[in-house]
Amino acid sequence: MAEKAIEVTDLTIAYKDKPVLWDVDMDVPAGTLMAIVGPNGAGKTTLIKAILGLVKAAAGQVLVYGKSYAEQRHLVGYVPQRGSVDWDFPTSVLDVVMMGRYGALGWLKRPGATERAAALDALDKVGMKPFAERQISQLSGGQQQRVFLARALVQDAQLYFMDEPFQGVDATTERAIVTLLQELRSAGKTVVVVHHDLQTVPEYFDWVTMLNVRRIASGPVSEVFTEENLRQTYGGKVAFLSAAGNGKNGTQYATG
């Protein structure tokens, strides 16, 4: 198998005394687009945050390109859920995107012309360049999402984590994200996406991890995205499972 971008071994996380993730193993080969799916409360976001060191693990190990996250931070870009911030914050689109360079800039240094150019370039990639000077509270949900994507793009990472980028976005934004994912893959990057829409999994991604506190399955979509695994992940709440695995006949999956 190719080089591993992420190796998660025996990861266990608990809030107070309730386990959120239980003994999770997950390998992500470099250069793949991986979806993480599972019902609400399955620990999808927590898994990403644990890999990024934002949530403390009770047990287990996480390696990013063979080393700890702290050592490999410069290789990683992060797109949080857009609902995690206050969009009424007094700042412009360009300013938010430049924040992606803050880590590389280090202490005390101010963003300058180089950062500005990089930010404008990233905004162009997500079709948001005309909005560079716009106050962020004036953006639609989809536009907010694209700003967050641009902010991660200027990190110029090898490995990207995206938390529900498709959540509640318009068709334009969905298309922009899909195009972006494909561009990232052809550039040899690895992308891990928390995803909700089971129907588009086979179309958008080549690997999938199915999660419900425990890891149910993880591997190439063609092998593990099966009726049996879906049933285990969603606890029998998935209707019309016969379509699982190809997802191209237009069947609606109802998830609980």
Binding site: R73, P80, V85, D86, P90, T91, V96, Y102, G103, R110
Partner: protein, 376 residues
């Protein structure tokens, strides 16, 4: 006392100059750091900190038996800081929520402070006199030495704010993302909160523990109304704070027995009120004007559509329709005349006879275009 005399004294009278300078420093520091507190949804943290500072002030006096402001400020600083740490520990380790923790710390510390204050006032010696001025503030007690201390500490706090501007901005907007980039978020959080404690302590002698939180929240809230840029908001916050500080001090010093704190707070409240009402972009007045303009525009469109509907029932475009029919069709009959005059101005409609209107060619084109857009 007339205003020119007051302004003259502000520059040449020793007491007034000292007091004015002190109030300006406290306004600038609390307005600028308060902007961050407000954006971080920590407005009430300032209230808890300033109340928590009271026992520190009294204890500092009891231990040293001096009323040296620097000593008392140090006591306030330590107590305010301990109060903050208590609050953070309570929210992190128990199931008590942030707002309840705030209330707990505020009331427990303030109660302790009041108790100590009462105890101190019963002491036989007279050195404790004036300690209760810390409740509502007394600008007249400021000496040049105190102002210099305030200025130095304030400059240090603002220096740190500028030095870590980028980090504080990121921390305020998106702390989790900041952590993912490798910034020590916990340390930055403690540092920024410490700066807030400093800003509060600087103002305690002048404004008092009860109302100091207004100096944190109000200038920032007013500044937010005027701008969508963080840097400008922080500068404006400082400016508004200074304005209220100096204005309040002047007013309270022009009359006998007027406590400084409440007067300064009234000044800053006036600034907030004006900003809420008249600020461009976010102010209520502007919002109202904008919504009126939109409403007129929509009303003109509606009348145009009504005229079009009527015209479709007559093969002859010259055929006029009376205003009373249009009024009957409109949801807002009173606006019809104004809408018609607007349509006339744009050349979309013309008055063929008194109170009888018809579409022009341009009006017809415009109406069908609107209809087309609506269908899409």
């Amino acid at each position: 006392m007339d205003i020119s005399q007051l302004l003259y004294d502000l520059f040449f009278d020793y007491t007034l100059r000292t007091v004015g300078l002190g109030a300006a420093i406290l306004g600038i520091v609390s307005g600028m750091l308060g902007s961050f507190a407000v954006l971080r949804k920590q407005s009430l943290l300032g209230d808890a900190i300033s109340h928590a500072a009271l026992p520190g002030i009294v204890l500092a006096f009891l231990l040293t038996r001096t009323r040296e402001p620097a000593v008392l400020m140090l006591g306030a600083l330590i107590a305010g800081w301990i109060g903050t740490l208590f609050m953070l520990t309570i929210t992190r380790t128990t199931r008590i929520k942030y707002d309840s923790a705030l209330g707990l710390v505020l009331s427990v510390f303030f109660g302790l402070g009041l108790m100590l204050l009462t105890f101190t006032q019963k002491l036989p010696d007279a050195t404790q006199a004036g300690l209760d001025k810390f409740l509502f503030g007394q600008a007249a007690t400021l000496l040049q030495r105190d102002v210099i201390t305030m200025g130095l500490i304030g400059a240090m706090a603002l220096g740190l704010l500028v030095a870590f501007w980028k980090e504080f901005k990121l921390l305020t907007f998106d702390p989790e993302y900041a952590a993912s980039l490798g910034f020590p978020v916990r340390v930055l959080d403690v540092l920024l909160t410490t700066l807030l404690v400093i800003a509060i302590v600087i103002g305690l002698q002048t404004v008092g523990v009860v109302l100091m939180s207004a100096m944190i929240v109000a200038p920032a809230a007013a500044a937010r109304q005027w701008t969508d840029r963080l840097s400008l908001m922080v500068v404006l916050g400082g400016l508004f704070g200074a304005l209220a500080g100096v204005g309040g001090t002047l007013i309270s010093s022009s009359a006998e027995r007027l406590p400084t704190g409440p007067v300064i707070v009234l000044c800053v409240s006036t600034i907030v009120l004006i900003s809420m009402l008249f600020a461009t972009n976010r102010g209520l007045l502007w919002n109202w004007i904008r919504s009126q303009q939109n409403r007129r525009k929509l009303r003109a469109r509606a009348v145009l559509a009504d005229l079009n509907t009527l015209a479709m029932q007559h093969p002859d475009q010259e055929h006029g329709h009376s205003v009373s029919v249009l009024r009957a069709m409109s949801t807002n009959p009173d606006g019809v005349s104004y809408a018609l005059s607007q349509l006339k101005e744009r050349g979309h409609a013309r008055e063929v006879a008194h109170e009888v209107w018809a579409l022009t060619d341009e009006g017809l084109a415009e109406a069908s275009k609107n209809l087309e857009n609506k269908r899409e």
